[in-house]
Symmetry: C2
Amino acid sequence: MRIVLLGFGSVGQGIARAIHTKDLGITITGCADSRSGVVDDAGIDIGAALERKQKTGYCGDTRITPMDVVATAEYDVLVEVTPTNVTTGEPASSHIRTAIERGKHVVTSNKGPIALAYRDLQAAARRNGVCLKYEATVCGAIPLINAMQEGLAGNTVTRLLGVLNGTCNYILTRMSEEGLTYEQALMEARELGYAEADPTYDVKGIDAAIKLVILANTVLHLDKTLDDVETTGIDLLTPDALRLADEQDCTIRLIGEIVPGDGVLRVSPRIIPKTHPLVVEGTLNAVTVETDMAGEITFIGRGAGSTETASAVISDLLSIRDRYVQGS
Amino acid sequence: MRIVLLGFGSVGQGIARAIHTKDLGITITGCADSRSGVVDDAGIDIGAALERKQKTGYCGDTRITPMDVVATAEYDVLVEVTPTNVTTGEPASSHIRTAIERGKHVVTSNKGPIALAYRDLQAAARRNGVCLKYEATVCGAIPLINAMQEGLAGNTVTRLLGVLNGTCNYILTRMSEEGLTYEQALMEARELGYAEADPTYDVKGIDAAIKLVILANTVLHLDKTLDDVETTGIDLLTPDALRLADEQDCTIRLIGEIVPGDGVLRVSPRIIPKTHPLVVEGTLNAVTVETDMAGEITFIGRGAGSTETASAVISDLLSIRDRYVQGS
């Protein structure tokens, strides 16, 4: 199976490294970062591209753009892992549309296109007889989309509850364990690389809300946008609130919730018993899916990280290989 | 898609009810319990069979045996949910072999054939171009087999740790929470229907060991039997041991472990921190899979129950429908 890889940051490099070191039957015929690209229909030299990127910051030739790679290379699957833009979805959306119109399957970790344009992209994929997969857009390494589409097939989901943002979970864990203030815990998270210089996107609950929109639209058959999510962040929480919860053997976590029956999507800090499976430590993610037959199923794992995201992308690739490209 | 259903106890009835009430595109053309059967190539009357079973104890005609149904009915998939025999695997193994030789797919919740004869059955399925699925044999409603075969595809599993027996977990939870003795907690579990009159199979760790053998042979590419599992039960645990663990913010759980690298399979009571995701309450099951790319992924859910087992069987059926039988 031949793929092209757009985005050669930490996730893209993680994917390239996994394909380079594991015997997965996958050949990379093109890759690009935002400023350079390389195409070789016989298979690029992955080791050389990784080394070039490390040394020069470019994975290929500066005359080759990402769109050149999508539009001209020979491949079965586009892997789109460029940085997320949740306002426009670009340039990822254009890359994905171009690949689909060329009759290529698509695997992406990019939340932008899936949160903003899932229905359109899925319709285009159907028209062109190709597959669009996006396991890596929600909860990193946790195979949640696969579980909801296949492992729990036949079930009706009555509610979904999730700890969807590792940064917030780290801050709340530290406030709870050590009695830190929000500001102290945030500073610690920054020092450890768990929070950005501008943490708004995480601590205001926006990142969690985007993941809810993706889950709602892709596996729960709703049609929602970010504006439909009632969103409250964790930035106003006090150590007192956590102490109060603690006195009742509870703690506070930022919980994303979907109730498919009444179409509600909500992100807010919630008091939950410490023994609840959703109470996970540090930067972990956790999701509980409530269903009519399987009861409550909880999934816990790392929600971010280059290798973890690569894991989700590669499982999507292997699924496409086994179903659609086996003969090629 | 047409199926026949062998086994019409609580699991079989759960499956029949789900097919009867949900619009899954599945027709049951035959079913049987151990003493009666019914075949109708146009689709049996599921409601009538359920009512007959409730009223008389027979789902069909006493002149029709399960083997008659497997060997003569028209169907795409055999659903084999007769009671488990872990010594011989019979009569389930014979039912499954007969169906496979007729070119029929098979879905089973029956641990016997999968623990004893997985390689042979899988080889026969391949020769006959059909699919053998067994999600329901391990951890009930938790879509663990699917996750390990698909959601985590491409990963190398370095270790698997699991709370695989709900009866033991209930007993240990109660000993820990209430300071009960093993005997007191077992009596309580019996009263609530969580433990059999003869609890040996559960409390000695045999049930958990069988699940390890299934996971080892089916998704971890090992070749193990029950004799290969180092098995210690929970029946000698004292409240003192649990109190001691509690003093270190730990508790004791019956943990099944597989280390694929050195081929070790082990079931034993282990001391683990209370904050570990495997520490679940009551009759829940939990499994942590340690992998090279995805890190540690934990799955928590109900490991038993007729609706929960039906959920796993139906997800297998829908997977076969979508991949193999869509046109029929």
